[in-house]
Subunit: 324 residues, 2 copies
């Protein structure tokens, strides 16, 4: 892990800055969007001039979040920032090209909870035990003197909690997660509103894709491994997003007996994003790392090129090696 900065150092930089850029990784999910918006509202209250940028557009199911329209997919190259806050990501490259090449970013502060990432900020504040980057942001807000969470901040914080814990199911759920969830409700958060948008709104195409995938999925090693794929044609036909296809992987992991689920999602012709999901007994984070990707013990991913059948063979052989 990179050298950890103190909250005092971070607070000082924020106090001294006026124009502040807030960014997260491409293909933003609940934790990026929620964390960035928490910061946006707090900085605005402090009479700062925050600018919210993400290279990719915000997924449809997060469009209900207060303030979400403040996000821009454009990063004007002439705009000068005194300070940049990078949330839920350590490597600048994962934010995107425009960001990498921007000449006026000021100092960069990384706020994250992924201990395994390389943190390329000038200052890095990483809490590996935090369920979400939103919680890391919460600690920064407290240090900045935010006493009570507004409804807007609380709803965005709550979104980071439920998305990164799979609705308080994953083992990263801890007492602080519940403590903050309670705090969010005190600020008026409607749990069903957030949960329904984040988890419980799927287009018909998604259900059809699910059925198609279930019909064609392969079960290996006596049921321990499940391999399924979504083709470019299927993605186009169903207009499903990458997030929705990835959600399928988490869904299929629930199949009784399955220890690892590998989901092959074709992004460009012959170019696959592979999402791994494990029930915890097998570390798919290590597997993804060996294949040039990254992630956690139970959820990880990598990218591979080639005919699907060859890629599947490689993955299966990797899995066989380490799965007893």
């Amino acid at each position: 892990m990179s050298k950890q900065s103190t909250l005092d150092e971070i607070v000082k930089l924020i106090y001294d800055a006026k124009n502040i850029l807030i960014v997260g990784h491409r293909l933003p999910e609940g934790d990026v969007v929620g964390s960035a918006l928490c910061l946006y509202f707090a900085l605005q209250k402090m009479k700062k001039n925050p600018y919210l940028y993400n290279q990719d557009s915000i997924p449809k199911n997060l469009k209900f979040l207060p303030g979400v329209k403040k996000f821009s997919c454009l990063l004007p190259s002439a705009k000068k920032f005194d300070l940049t806050l990078m949330v839920d990501v350590g490597e600048k490259g994962r934010v995107g090209e425009s960001f990498l090449n921007h000449p006026f970013l000021g100092k960069i502060i990384c706020l994250d909870h992924h201990a395994v990432s390389v943190h390329e900020g000038n200052l890095n504040f990483v809490l590996p035990n935090a369920s979400s980057t939103g919680i890391v942001v919460y600690h920064v807000l407290k240090a900045l003197g935010v006493k009570k969470l507004s409804y807007e901040i609380a709803t965005n914080l709550y979104c980071t909690l439920i998305t990164d814990t799979g609705s308080f199911r994953y083992s990263n759920t801890n007492r602080e997660t519940f403590e903050l969830a309670k705090l969010c409700l005190d600020s008026g958060v409607d749990p069903w509103l957030v949960a329904r948008n984040c988890f419980e709104t799927q287009p018909l195409s998604w259900f059809k894709m699910l059925c198609d995938v279930v019909t064609h999925m392969e079960i290996k090693m006596g049921g321990k491994i499940l391999m399924a794929s979504v083709s470019l044609a299927q993605l186009k036909k169903t207009r499903a997003s990458l997030e929705q296809a990835e959600a399928l992987a988490s869904h299929l992991r629930t199949l009784e007996g399955v220890q690892v689920c590998a989901m092959f999602i074709e992004q460009k012709r012959g170019f696959f994003k592979i999402s791994f999901r494990s029930n915890g007994s097998y570390d798919v984070g290590k597997l993804a790392k060996r294949l040039g990707g990254g992630g956690h013990r139970k959820a990880s991913g990598c990218e591979m090129q080639g005919p699907l059948s060859s890629i599947k063979k490689i993955i299966l052989s990797e899995l066989r090696k380490n799965l007893s």
Copy 2:
């Protein structure tokens, strides 16, 4: 609501009793099983002689719960009980025939969170704002002097929390839910273990049934109503349980735009259990009540007899009346 008894009155009855029967409604789910087991462990610690009974067997996905083997499906008619604790149910009839006809039940205490039920206990303690009956039981345990939750009690209590809130998603989730969830983690509860068993273990047959149901479901009123059915033959073929079929209804409710999902589950030839799920804008509790059933605003059910096509017509006409 029936007359509410005080915790003092309840505690006194429990102190004075030795042989205590603990029962819940037929087709037990997480809240019945977890609540009953919390009481079982606490009473055992108090050197009482608790007896756990449910007419129906425990669903497979709850078999991981500590103490679950203590449940019996037999209620010996000669066994004399000093006291009976009825959890998560108000009407004796919903516990079953053997219970109704048992001559030696002692006084009956109802512990419940369903305000709309008729509570037929000699003493009734009902907390309508509690997310689960488990929370009601928690208040009784505190009154009985239980200071710290054992791992066994905490895991069972946690099970009631996550099953009755749909993993902290439904609007009955409140600050007390999160407060108790935190307390459960303090006692060593593993959130992933409980969530995986309660929500994330589905047999292959369930996936196949899902696909079959999705293929044949009917969408009405421009997408606001979804009607789907599971036949007796499908249930037999897939060996899916009634709970699993009902879980399908919650699953299908997530279809974008759907306000009400009605799931017709054939239990005997021509005899249907109908599960209603709503996204909250339409009160399916009232609908079920009009049809002789019961439940909540977002989840309810009733039973109807006849050819499926006629039943569907009745339901559709009822829905059309009140759904704008």
